[in-house]
């Protein structure tokens, strides 16, 4: 920068602003008047903003503006509106029967959307965000159900849970045959191999099938049924299929027979409203395994 004053530029017939960078001088090309006025108007407009809207921070609060506008209050109003809109839709969901919901595309879409959100908030910690499950927590996408996979059965399980302490909860558990001294360890190994054979898995060398069948008949058939097909009344899994909640290898089976199993599904009645539970039942049913 040279001096503040501009100088005359004989080529353009204009003055310069006095700004100079490495010998390049800036010509003074003033804006039109309306443009300059508009610029000042924007400043005035900004001052108006300070007055009308919350603007200046104070020590422990801020200026609130003339109309007391607050974006937080706006959000609260919007949320209330949303709740109202949803309330009407959820009322329709609450009034419809489970079977009707699955047949009505609009209700099905609503139930699936609502169910998915609520599932993510409440069920995903154990069952996984897509309901894929984990060891000890059933996969809700497959067609193997401990307590039944019809809409009503799924809804009942969600409402009351399993071994949840709720009066109507599913009860029944896998007994600890080893720990309680019912079966000796060699008997446990034998029956574990028998169970593996039930679903077509290879067995240990020298395993006595006849002895396994006898132990199974005396101890397991009461719950798991003849041939190990399971019993949904007691939550006893089908031992002949390809789906294993805790695992199908020999060591896991021995552990299961020795210590028993009694996973807990909490009761959601009272925690979630009936329409939401309904939506969740439809959602879980629609994951793919529903009967």
């Amino acid at each position: 920068m040279t001096d503040h004053h501009g100088e005359f530029d004989s080529v353009s017939g204009k003055t310069t602003t006095g700004h100079e960078w490495d010998g390049i001088k800036e010509l003074n090309t003033p804006l039109p008047r309306w443009w300059v006025i508009t610029f000042y108007l924007t400043i005035v407009w900004a001052i108006g903003y300070w007055i009308v809207y919350p603007a200046w921070p104070l020590i422990s609060s801020n200026t609130t503006g003339l109309f007391g506008y607050s974006s937080r209050a706006d959000v609260a109003v919007e949320l209330a509106n949303l709740e109202k809109i949803r309330g009407d839709k959820m009322a329709a969901l609450g009034a419809a029967s489970l079977a009707d919901i699955e047949k009505d595309p609009a209700l099905l879409a609503l139930a699936r959307a609502k169910g998915k959100t609520v599932f993510g908030d409440n069920c995903a910690p154990c069952h996984g965000s897509g309901g894929a499950g984990a060891k000890g927590f059933p996969n809700l996408n497959d067609d193997d159900w401990l307590w039944g996979g019809s809409l009503d059965q799924i809804m009942q399980t969600i409402q009351y849970g399993a071994r949840s302490g709720h009066a109507k909860a599913h009860e029944g558990q896998m007994l600890a045959f080893g720990k309680d001294g019912v079966l000796k360890s060699d008997e446990i190994v034998t029956v574990a191999n028998y169970v593996r054979a039930l679903s077509g898995l290879p067995t240990r060398k020298g395993y006595d099938a006849a002895k396994g069948e006898k132990i199974f008949a005396e101890n397991c058939v009461a719950c798991h049924g003849d041939g190990g097909k399971g019993n949904q009344e007691m939550g006893a899994p089908n031992l002949t299929d390809k789906i294993w909640l805790y695992g199908s290898d020999e060591a896991t089976l021995i552990e299961t027979i020795t210590n028993g199993r009694a996973g807990v599904m909490p009761a959601w009645e009272g925690r979630l409203d009936p329409a939401t539970i309904k939506a969740m039942a439809v959602y879980v049913h629609s994951l793919g395994g529903g009967k």
Binding site: G6, G13, T15, P30, R33, W35, R112, G130, D142
Partner: protein
Amino acid sequence: MNKTVNPNELTSEDDFGPLYAARKKVYPQSVSGTFRRIKWGLMAFCLGVYYFLPFVRWNRGLGAPSQAVLIDLPNSRFYFFFIELWPQEVYYFTGLLIVAAVTLFLMNSVGGRIWCGYLCPQTVWTDLFYAVERFVEGDRRERMKKDKSSGLTLRRAGEIALKHTIWLMIAWWTGGAWVLYFSDAPTLVKELLTFQAPMVAYIWIGILTATTYVLAGFMREQVCTYMCPWPRIQAALTDEWALNVTYRYDRGEKRTSVKKAAELRALGEQVGDCVDCYQCVAVCPTGIDIRNGPQLECIQCGLCIDACDNIMTKLGRPKRLIGYDNDINIQRRQDGKAPIYRVVRPRTIVYSAIIAAVGGIMLYTLATRSLLDVNVLHDRNPVAVKLSDGSIRNAYTVRLLNKSGYDRVIAIDADGPVNLTTHVVGADSVTPDRPMIVIPRDTTSELRLLVTAPAENNPEKSIPVRFRVTDIGLGEVATATDNFVAP
């Protein structure tokens, strides 16, 4: 526009420079001629299309809007005569914008700022507003005189009031026509007149009334000079062959009156055809002197050509002292060679090719556009599920688009290297192995599709699957591909 200043006359204000440049009001004079006629014609055409297009009807059948051009925002549809576009097809607008931009480039490389001079809304409406001003207040000299005189007579006040009333009416119609593109025009007009139209319609009419009134009535050439980027961009798009409105200095200099010219010629001096009558300056809507050469402010409307031609005709000299020309030809004439015009050159060929290619692709895709479409998204959590009998199941979210004006019954099949069975959640299918679903007209449906591979031929890891959606009635087929994954 640059005023030449004598350095000795600089004041202290000039040292710092003025804070702003004062507006030099332009008083364009009326003119008649070829280019004025072209401009009237194009103005009538452009405004006619703009104001009346919303009222053109187009029969699309029951339940669909019958307006030829309609931007249906609530239902996310765009209608243009036989074309109906969905939001997914926004790429047509991309194509349209490319064609528009390159057409602008092409116009520029052939005939300079044709857009600015004849077609730009700013030019068209400003021209219309000038016509109103001229009709009410008189031509250039009268308007200048009236603006200079300080006394406000009743007659003068009436003139001003009348001018602004007509301007506001035009502006109001402009805003009014705009909103008609977004709703059924005859219904909206009725609602507007009975004050039953939605608030947003009145707000938009208000906004566009204000912008039209201010931009065409007051800002005028300032929009082109200060606000619009196009005058700057076009400098990069023009070349030495482009025909621009040009003052032919090869036959114009030295400028002087007819009488003086004769005297100078007698003395053997070089004298031009320009008689320095300033008619080209008087008619210019941006208030410049074209004889100073090409300049930023010039919108190339050709009115100075008309003005000059009229004078040349009266003087019995050849026309087009100002005309569409370029410096190459001026040079050639000075050298005694014939002028050459080169419209076909690499630049224009490339632009034309781009326009043809993009336009062709758009037309082709539009003509072969399917009215039935399917998108498939594989579930990611879990990607695959093992069922109790050992078979593998994958779930997909399927989005079906029925762009036609009738309901469709469709069937979904999954084709892959292994035998796959399909099931749609919630579909009350009479054919359990081949789900059939009804998609209502002009809607999208989202379905959950379960695909199962039986236990005996479980796929290895991941196999490609083709989803085939068939319209049972018409046989139309849409397909999408994805993968079937084993756990």
